[in-house]
Amino acid sequence: MTLACGKSDARKIVIGYAQVSSVATLDEARAGFFKALADSGFVPDKTITVIERNAQGDIPALGLIMSDFQQQGVTHVATVSSVATQAALKSITDRPIIFGAVANPYVIGAGTSPANHRPNITGAEIPLPVDSAVVLAHETFPDVKEWGTLFDPADPFAEFYLEKAKAGAAAAGVRLITVACTGPGDIAAGIQALKAQGARGVVQIPSVMIGGAFSAVVKSTRQANMPLVGTTTSFQGAPIALGLSFYANGYDMGLIMIRVLRGADPATIPFQSEKKRSLVVDLASARAYGVTIPPAILARADSVIGGNPEAKTSTAGPQAITQQPARRGNNPFEFWLVAITQGLAFAALAWGVYLSSRVLRFADITPDGSFTLGAAVAAAMIVSGKDPLLATGVAVLAGMVAGYVTGLLHTRLGVKDLLAGILVMTALYSVNLHVMGKSNISLLDVRTLVADVHAIIPASQGWSDDLSLGVLFFFITVVLGLILAWFLRTDFGMAMRAVGDNPAMITAQGVDQRRMIELGLAIANGLVAFSGALMAQQQGFADVAMGVGTLVAGMAAVIMGETLLFNKRGLGYTIIMVAAGAILFRGMVALALRMGLNPIDLKLATAAFVLAALALPKLRVTRSAFRTAK
């Protein structure tokens, strides 16, 4: 067949751009890449076509993105982050791949040396100077002889960077303590574990997962009085950071792409390595940590931010942030205060799970999604400047909608309870990403409920943030518990309880049990979302993955609460004990960490606690039965 328009003038350029998630480092590389293209006249949608995809942390999706690129006739592939590059390496063999923001292309099998690599791939690597960062940490804080770092065992470069960190520690003559961390929710626990194992400061090695929740690292290290040294300059909150510019790396990647677009063969282009280091000192963060940066280090800094008039003026770096020093209690109970505050935040979750699993007897799995939804809505609204109270209220409404939808799927479409919850929970993952616009929102330096506490109780100005939140959460929990106890005793609440107890009976009393299930699940997930909103404000961030294991935690609290009942009955008692179960559960997790438990084993310990709570009443019964038998 002949084309009517004849020969096309030039081969059309279609770049497929893939990125694994929206982390500050990767976003900077992306900006550099497109800037380089634009500077040479390659403007998306004008002179070239760009199909841009972001896997939003879903690594298997990268494989799909690659085959989609092929189907859409992409001529060049650009990958930012190592996992995206790995996915491209696996499925793209017949067209050029240009990578950026890859720490070490050799680890992922792109080649064996800068010049000797697979023919269709080239790009710009960014081997972060982790060893030098450890040396710098020692120079800045000479009193600290034990440094710790968290690492993500699933990260392909964890080992590479840990080796570098060890080399740096050896050079500086300090000890390096490492703790594995598998998800953003374990970061606080991981920092506690580092401290329990003797670390007095933290040099955080690069990791996409941990970097995405860097504000949690900042919050926890501030809490633990451990100075933090960053190994990338893209994340804010560490007093000092030594890294390489991801923006420059992305720009280099763009320059390589231009060479290939103009006809160069990728096989002939050696891998480029980012060399320009930058040392950033953040004086505001230093104040927040209560540490001082020695003048010698300040003098070496490429950029000083945080508004100190005597220091060098801020250069390219991120805009100066005005940071209120977080108030930190210095008493030894601070750790337990945090555990109790988190337990109080979990009380609403436990009540929500109690409502669905015990009152309605509905196996609802929605909480794994609605908990995050609450956190996401609250965080997104708070960072956009909305009042934290309002944000928390809207979070509750969002959770109610989620629960209501699960109910509708079950009652109107006949979907089994477990499946209905799974469907909504899965859908919420996307919804939560949309709400947040990225996978993690930091609430470190924005107005949260703490400010409201200060407004309500003037005397609280001098309290630590966690004490303020603890007091607030305590009042919230008491009020919420009273409301719940009242609600379940009203005519409406009684009908809801009856739906779980004997659905045939309550139908015969003229109650539409479908509506009761829908409304009951709405209330239950409203409580869960409330818990998520409180939790986000307590821990200082919302993360799209923070909901994993929520239902298990809620069930654990309910089961522990029931064990605490010691066969006493009554609604009021049960409600109190379920809340106590939530606090006890967080307390046990805290205790396990205090005792130096590795966070990888935390989930195992959780399962053991729940099992113990389940087995305890049985043991009691067996023993008394034995006594009677005698």
Binding site: D491, F492, M494, A504, M505, I506, T507, A508, Q509, G510
Partner: protein
């Protein structure tokens, strides 16, 4: 008044076999009449009561209660018209809720349930008197959970619940069958009192020929989803349990014979 016309229901068993449980039942019960229902196992008695209560929707026919056509109404919507007691003492109450709470829920049968703590002191006092009237010494146990009561005690409470808000129709499905003879007698006595006192239109299934004749004003025999006999007035007054049984057996054989000799379709 209850008007049932050409009521039909066929169940499909899990294996795919079709079981006609109701084959065109016609039954009119004047207001205030107490009808007893007898029939062999599987003859369709429970199905008849369930269809009236709305547990499922019938395949054909109509049901009108007090002039309202409820044939297509879901169960919860017609609940305001109907009080029910089942054979299984576990079916009619919420075991983990208290006796008082169960009574309160039944008092609101078919009504809007609001955000009000309905189980007030005065409500409890009211229930105290009503439960005392049952003569089962349950008045002190309004706060006890239902699950701690015996089968007979539960059926007595269920009966009270079914009539606490006066129903247009009371449905009793072998509600004494699961009880020991003493408790069964007690429940029958309470039933008789309650129905008489409130002049309730009642449909009671029983497996006892004596009960069928002693209680109520009219007896119907159900067989293979049809009403075989409808006895009332003098005709019924002249019968004793043995007569009734004989009569029933005869009629059944006539039907079975007719079915067996029906030319193959």
């Amino acid at each position: 008044m209850i008007e049932i016309e050409r009521l039909e229901k066929t169940f499909t068993q899990p294996g795919g076999e079709r079981v006609p449980a109701l084959r065109g039942i016609d039954l009119v019960i004047p207001t205030g009449q107490f009808v007893t229902v007898i029939g062999t196992n599987g003859s369709g008695k429970s199905t008849l009561l369930n269809a009236v209560a709305g547990t499922f929707l019938p395949d054909g026919g109509t049901i009108r209660i007090a002039g309202i056509d409820v044939t297509r109404q879901p169960e919860f919507r017609r609940a305001s018209l109907i009080g029910r007691v089942f054979q299984d003492p576990f079916k009619g109450t919420c075991p983990s809720m208290s006796v008082g709470e169960n009574l309160r829920m039944a008092e609101l049968r078919g009504e809007r349930r609001g955000l009000r703590v309905g189980l007030s002191r005065s409500a409890l006092d009211r229930y105290h008197e009503l439960v005392k009237g049952l003569g089962m010494r349950l008045e002190g146990r309004l706060r006890a959970t239902m699950g701690t009561l015996s089968g007979g005690q539960r059926q007595a409470i269920t009966l009270l619940m079914a009539t606490l808000k006066r129903p247009q129709l009371l449905l009793l499905d072998e509600h004494t069958a699961a009880l020991d003879p003493r408790a069964a007698d007690q429940i029958i006595k309470i039933t008789d009192d309650v129905v008489r006192e409130n002049k309730l239109t009642t449909l009671m299934v029983t497996h006892s020929m004596e009960q069928a004749l002693e209680q109520g004003d009219r007896t119907i025999m159900v067989h293979r989803g049809e009403i075989l006999a409808d006895l009332s007035g003098d005709e019924r007054a002249g019968l004793d349990a043995n007569d009734l049984l004989r009569r029933f057996t005869e009629l059944r054989y006539t039907v079975e014979f007719a079915v067996a000799n029906r030319p193959p379709a």
